[in-house]
Symmetry: C2
Subunit: 359 residues, 2 copies
């Protein structure tokens, strides 16, 4: 049995405590400075207010001030912070790290260098670690479709763990895997993270259809929705994920597997990302929409901002054909330039025409 | 302006009358022998009872007995029959065909030869046409995400038209395309049809998650569903579509574009295919479930039956690795062998492991 600390007590960080506890591991859940109310509830009532569920038996909760105590003699540290917290996470746990420890991140996102080069968050995290320990710990990350509440509810869930180190990823999978939490493993950490990050951007795009429906007066007299439009956006999204995998260097098949299409599908089924898309589809600007969602972390906005800033630089360097990314550019116009939604459907689906040329 | 006859007055056949009429074409809607009630309503009230919507102005409706009159001097014939009606359609229109006419099929399905070879329905249809006309008409088909009711409601819709003949498919796209009915074109008729057929099979698989949820007592106290499982099945479905495209010979990118992931997404959003999956997920056998849905055409069952019969033959001939198709085989066990649902998740996502070997 292993000792495991989860840093970040939000939805997903806490959710992985359930399979871990079910496997008999010792789990310590550490809130960040944003999680104080959650940890209070966890300590006093053993109840997670966001997941609306009791913590698994045996899981011990810690305020961030007690991080050192929580990290003592752990084999594995789970990064449960969101994409904005990666630098903080690295700086904060760095001084406590011991050689041989494994770090697995549930955080999704990408960062762009000034020249447009895109970097996955585990690499961003590694840069924050003290140099004398950086190469003595192993990093991994999680991808694939997983709504946290369902995992905490012990619903059947299929995910992919990735690490550049085979031993690390197999060890982690063996520790986390249960009868309901099915884990496949990959050495393609980059491809996995590209999909995990981009699916948030594209799910916001799919969510726009809900808002356009509402703006048009909702379902019509015959009871029809705007699923056709949502599905068109979904198809373009998967296609653009495949281009991003090519660009950044990931397994092409991920675009149409668990990490890409699978994770995008689950993200479209509800949650803050599609709610934001809905508000934008209704005609609100990003500023208006995010004010209406005050207090919610919107990772979709971050990843769209990152991609929107990176793509022109990558294009200027001849690394990318912008014709392959009309949807994310449209989303970037909304996020960066505060444009109201106006989907240029006629420049989507460039791939269909490309396929013609190949035939 | 063109004269166009639509044969088959169900949901989708009738739905394409709306963009055609909006473009000012002359549209004749011909019911099959199964559509008599529909045509009665269309003739008497100009109202389509299934679409729950008035026909577009100018569309004229015909009983099947008046087929010859309806087909007189048309440029284009739309096959609006379902996959079970393809042979009938070919035999029935054959004697009326004139050189140069275009036939576009909205029918989705595949047929298998005794040796397992899979054939797209436009080719099955061609075989039914009289030999002296077969090479003098051009065939095309429609793929991509399109719920008929939404098209009839003039909701934004993005589809792909395919034909082996470039002039044919461009002519058809020009005639059908409107400001809300966006049409891309492909010469890869086979790839388009493979996706269009298989998405029905796989959407039934995704629908199973709804039934398993219901069987387990529905959403739990924390309000969680089984979207993770549905998304896992969705990801596996897209992956298997990519294998099928490789097997039969279609554009690989279709698996993660409009014809594959896009069309699968829209099919998962509702309708009879996911309702059948739900009943199966609840624990009913196929016989029980289809009795509960008496009167509804279940094309998903037909395509699963076809694939389930073809795959072992293709495997015996060394043309297919069955490890790449665990989901469709599971669905075939349910459909052909009346097994109750039992998803072997642990043999899914073989692609993730394959990707490892490639890294």
């Amino acid at each position: 049995m292993a000792n495991i600390a989860i840093v970040g007590a939000g939805f997903m960080g806490t959710a992985v405590a359930y399979p871990l506890a079910d496997n008999g591991h010792t789990v310590r859940l550490v809130g960040t400075h944003l999680d104080n109310e959650i940890i209070e509830s966890c300590q006093q009532r053993h109840f997670h207010p966001k997941l609306k569920r009791e913590l698994p038996p045996g899981v011990k909760s810690y305020f961030v001030d007690d991080l050192a105590e929580a990290l003592a003699s752990v084999e594995i540290i789970v990064s449960g912070v969101n994409s904005l917290g990666v630098h903080w996470f690295g700086q904060t746990i760095g001084p406590h790290l011991k050689p041989g420890q494994l770090i697995i991140a549930i955080t999704k996102g990408l960062e762009a260098a000034a020249n447009g080069d895109l970097r996955i968050l585990p690499d961003v995290l590694a840069d924050e670690l003290p140099e004398n320990i950086r190469d003595q710990v192993k990093l991994a990350a999680v991808g694939g479709p997983c709504i946290a509440g369902e995992l905490a509810g012990r619903r059947q869930t299929c995910v992919v763990y990735g690490s550049r180190d085979a031993e690390t990823v197999e060890r982690l999978a063996a520790i986390f895997r249960t009868s309901y939490y099915h884990i496949w493993t990959t050495l393609d950490l980059v491809g996995l993270e590209v999909c995990a990050a981009l699916k948030n951007a594209y799910a916001m795009g799919v969510g726009i259809a809900n808002g356009l429906l509402e703006k048009s007066g909702g379902p019509d007299a015959a009871g029809t929705y705007m699923h056709n439009l949502a599905a068109g956006i979904f198809g373009q999204a998967c296609t653009e994920m495949s281009h991003a995998l090519q660009l950044i260097g990931g397994t092409p098949a991920f675009a149409y597997g668990l990490p890409g299409a699978g994770d995008l599908y689950v993200t479209c089924m509800g949650g803050r990302t599609v709610r934001l898309g809905r508000l934008l589809g209704m005609g609100h600007t990003l500023t208006e929409a995010t004010e209406m969602m005050a207090g919610e972390t919107l990772e979709s906005v971050e990843i769209i901002r990152t991609m929107g800033a990176a793509l022109p630089n990558l294009s200027a360097r001849g690394l990318v054909d912008l014709k392959n990314f009309p949807l994310i550019q449209t989303l970037a116009d909304i996020v960066i330039r505060e444009q109201r939604v106006n989907l240029p459907l006629n420049i989507f689906f460039h791939m269909v025409q490309l396929a013609n040329k190949a035939v």
